[in-house]
Symmetry: D2
C-alpha cells in the first residue's frame, strides 16, 4: 500500500488525482493540502473520514510515502522542499520551477538522501515516443519530425517536438552537417532545422495534439506516432510515477526515468 498526500487537491488536476488515488488498488489517500481552503472536514470534500485536510504547510504531519503536487507555480518550490525534508517522495506535476530551483531541489534531495520525480509531461504516449525515437536513432540516423496541433497553438514547433529532436540528435552519431542538398522554391518547405533534424509544424482546426517521428533508411521506414485526444490521459502517467518513484535514488526530471 502506497500512502499519498495531494497538494493542490482542490484544483482541476488535483481533483483528478484524488479520483485516481481512490480508484487505484494499492494506493491510499492519507492527506490533502491546499492553503486556500478553510474547512478542514474531509466530508466537505467527499473524502473518507481518515483523510487529513491541511491548509498550512507548517502544520502538515503525515506518514505519507508520496507527495503528489498539483499546486501553483508560486507554491511548488516550497512544497517540494517540504516533502523532501520530511521524507515524503515528491511527484511534481506543477509547472513553473526555474532551472535554478530544480538544481537547488536536486542538491537538497541529495543532502536529505531522498529521491523524487519532477514531471514536465505526464502523457505516457509522448514520453514513450521520445524514448523509442532515441533508441531508433542509433540505427536510423536520418529522421524528421511532424507535429500537428489545433489552430490556436501559437508556438511552433511544439516543446515535445523540440525535445524529441534534441534526444535524437544526442543519440545518433554525429552527422555530416545538414548539407543543403536541396533547393526550396518555397521558403520553409523543408521545415525548421534542429541540428540537421527537420521539424514540420501543422496547425489545423479539429486536431488536438499529435506527433510523428519518421525514420528512413535504404529500403525501409519506421514511424512512431502519438496522439493526445484529451488531458484525461495524464492520470495514467501520474499512476506510473507514483508506483515507481520508490525505486529512484535521486531527484530526477522526466517520466522516462521510471519507464523500464
Amino acid at each position: 500500500m502506497i500512502k499519498i498526500i495531494i497538494a493542490g487537491f482542490n484544483g482541476s488536476m488535483g481533483q483528478k488525482a484524488v479520483k485516481l488515488v481512490n480508484d487505484t488498488k494499492d494506493f491510499q489517500l492519507v492527506a490533502v493540502y491546499s492553503p486556500v481552503v478553510t474547512d478542514l472536514q474531509p466530508a466537505s470534500y467527499d473524502l473518507a473520514d481518515e483523510v487529513q485536510v491541511f491548509n498550512d504547510l507548517t502544520n502538515i504531519k503525515t506518514d505519507a510515502d508520496v507527495w503528489i503536487d498539483f499546486s501553483t507555480p508560486k507554491a511548488v518550490f516550497e512544497n517540494t522542499k517540504f516533502a523532501l525534508g520530511h521524507q515524503i517522495r515528491p511527484v511534481v506535476g506543477t509547472s513553473g520551477l526555474s532551472d535554478q530551483q530544480v538544481e537547488d531541489l536536486k542538491a537538497y534531495a541529495k543532502d536529505q538522501h531522498m529521491a523524487g520525480l519532477i514531471v514536465p509531461n505526464f502523457g505516457i504516449s509522448a514520453v514513450l515516443l521520445m524514448k523509442f525515437a532515441k533508441e531508433a536513432a542509433q540505427y536510423f540516423p536520418e529522421a524528421e519530425i511532424i507535429e500537428m496541433h489545433h489552430a490556436d497553438k501559437i508556438d511552433a514547433p511544439s516543446g515535445t517536438a523540440l525535445s524529441t529532436a534534441k534526444q535524437i540528435s544526442e543519440a545518433r552519431e554525429p552527422q555530416a552537417a545538414d548539407n543543403a542538398k536541396f533547393e526550396e522554391t518555397l521558403p520553409g518547405a523543408r521545415g525548421g532545422n534542429y541540428k540537421g533534424i527537420r521539424i514540420h509544424s501543422v496547425r489545423l482546426p479539429g486536431y488536438v495534439a499529435h506527433e510523428q517521428v519518421l525514420f528512413g533508411s535504404e529500403g525501409e521506414a519506421l514511424t512512431i506516432r502519438q496522439d493526445s485526444f484529451t488531458r484525461d490521459s495524464f492520470m495514467k502517467g501520474v499512476e506510473v510515477a507514483v508506483k515507481n518513484v520508490g525505486k529512484l535514488s535521486e531527484l530526477v526530471v522526466g517520466l522516462e526515468n521510471v519507464l523500464s
Copy 2:
C-alpha cells in the same frame, strides 16, 4: 476496338506502352514509330505481322484512332501536330512542351476540329488526390500538405504538391490572409506558404514518392494520401487516357479531364 500507334515505341516507356496495348482487350496496336530505327520488320521487335513500323514521320499512313507519344522533348511538338493533322487523337506522355507550344497545339486542334490529351502525370493516385483535394476544399478551407520523397530529390516542394496547393487555393473561398497567428522559434517550422496553404517537404532515404493533404475543421479531420512505389503505376493512367480520349472535344492538359 481502339486502334493505336505508338511514337517512341523503342524507349523504356514506349516498350511498356506496347505491352499495355497488347495486353488490353479492345486495344489494337496497328503501328509504331521511331526515327532512330532502321529495321522496319515488325518481327524484329516481337510485334505481330500486321503492325506497321515507321521511321519517317512523313511516311506514316495509318488508320489509328489514338497516337500514344513517348518520344523525346525535341520530337513531341511535331509528332503531336502530325497526329492532330491526320485525325489521330494524341495521348502525349512526353515532357518538354513549352507553354507556347501547348497553346499553339490547342489552337491547331481547334482548327482541325480535333481533340487530345497532354498528360504531365499519369499516376492516377496523384491525379485523384488533387481532384479530391479540390472538392474537399469547398467544405474544409483549412488545409496543409505534407509530401515525402527519397533523400535525392533536390527540389522542395514537389511539383505535385504545388499543383495541389494551387487547386485548393482556387477551390476554396478567399481566406483571410494567412495571418501569422504563430511564432516560429525555429524558422521554417510552419513550412512553405502558398497563398495560406502550408506545404511541408520531407526527404528521407527509403521513401519513394508520397503526398498527403490534411484538412481540419471543428471536431473532425479528412486526410487524402497517395503513395507511388514504382513507375509501373503509370501504365494504368495511359490505359484510362486512351480509353477516354475519344470523349474529349478539344486538346486539354491533365489526366483529370478524363476521370469522370
Copy 3:
C-alpha cells in the same frame, strides 16, 4: 436570407442548431417548436423577441423556408409531413424513420411538388470519404476498409464502413468473386467480407471514430481517411444542408446530395 424553424429546439442537438443559425450570416431563426415546452415567451429561451415559440404542431404558422428537425423518432414522421405540406423544406437530422416511412414521405413530397433532405450522417468528412471512395473505385477496384472506434462500440463493422463498402461495390466493375487466395492461420485475420471488400474493425480506448479506405494498384496506393473527434463537427453539415436544400427538386436521403 434563409428563414428557419427548428423542431426539437430544446434538445442537445436542437440547441446547437439554434446557436448555428444565430451565428450564421444569411440564416434567420423565425420560429422554434417543441411539444414539451409550456412557456411560449422567446426570452425564456434566450431567443430574440421576433422568434415564435410553438408547442403544438397544428398551431404552427410561419414563413420559414427551411425546417430543421432534431425532434424524436416518434415525432419525426409527422413533423416532416407537416413541413412538406406547408411548403417548408425539411432538413431532417432525427433518426428513426423506417424505410416505409421514407418512401411515404418521398411520395408525399412529389405530390406536394416539394423537396427536402433526410440526413443519417451530418459528418462532412465521413460523407466526403464515401463520395471519394466511390469515385476512386472506378480506377482502383481493389479496396479494403479499416475503421477504428472507442472500445465501447458494440457493433462491428460500423454503419459508415458498411455504407462505404456498399458504395465501392456498386461503383467498381464486377470483380471476380473474392477468390480466397489466402489461408487464415488465425480465423478472421482477413477481416469481414462484403462482396469481396474486406472490412477491419479496431476497438481501442482513447480512439473516437475514424475510418480509412485503402486502395492499391500496381506500384501505387491511395488512402482516404476521416477522423471524428467530437460531435461538434455535425453542425458544419447542418449548415451545408440548410444552404443547399433549396437547390433540390425532390426529397432525398444523404448529405452527399447537396455536396457539389
Copy 4:
C-alpha cells in the same frame, strides 16, 4: 578490424553481403565459401587477391572472426557447427534450421564457450517495432495489429505480426480474457484473435510489406509502424549483427539481442 568469411557467397544475398563487407569500414573479407564453385581464383569473382576461396568445408582454414551464412537450408546446420567448432562467431541468415537443430547448436556453442547469432529477420525496422511494442505494452495493455502486404501473399496473418502479438502478450499483465463485448454483423470484422490481441491482415496490389501496432488508452494513442519497401534494407541488419556479435556470450536467436 573484423575479419569475415561468407558462406554462400555466390547467391543473391551472399553477393549483397560481399558488397556490404567491402563497403564497410572496419570490415575485412578474408574468405568466401560455396560447395558449388570449382574455380578457386578470387579474381574470378572480383575479389581482392588475399581473399581465400573455398569449396570444401573440411578444407577451410582462416583467421576470420565472424562467419556470415547465406547458404542453403541443407547446409546451414553443418556450416554453423563448423564455425562454432573453429572459434568463428556465426551470423546466420539462412532459414531452414529446425527447433531441434537450434537447440543442438546452442548446446554445442555452450560446450565450445562460443557465441553467435541466428537471425530470422534482418529488417531492423521490423525488429525495432517488435521491441518497442513489447515495451509499450507494459503501459498500454490494449493493442491491435494491422499488417499490410501485396496481394500475392498467401498466409494471413504475417509471421512478423504473429511474433509481435506474442511479445505483446508476454509483456502485458494478464488481461481479462477477450470478453467478446461486441457483435460482428460481418464475421471476421474484428480480425484474428491472438490471446486477446486482434490482428488484421490487408492484402492489396501495390503494397509491399508494412506493419502497424496500435495502442490506445484513456485520451491518448500510440502507433508504431514499419514499412519494408525492398529487401535491400536487410544488409543494414547484417551490418549491425556483425558489428555486435562479439558482445554476445552465447548462441541466441533474433537481431533484437544485439540492439542496445
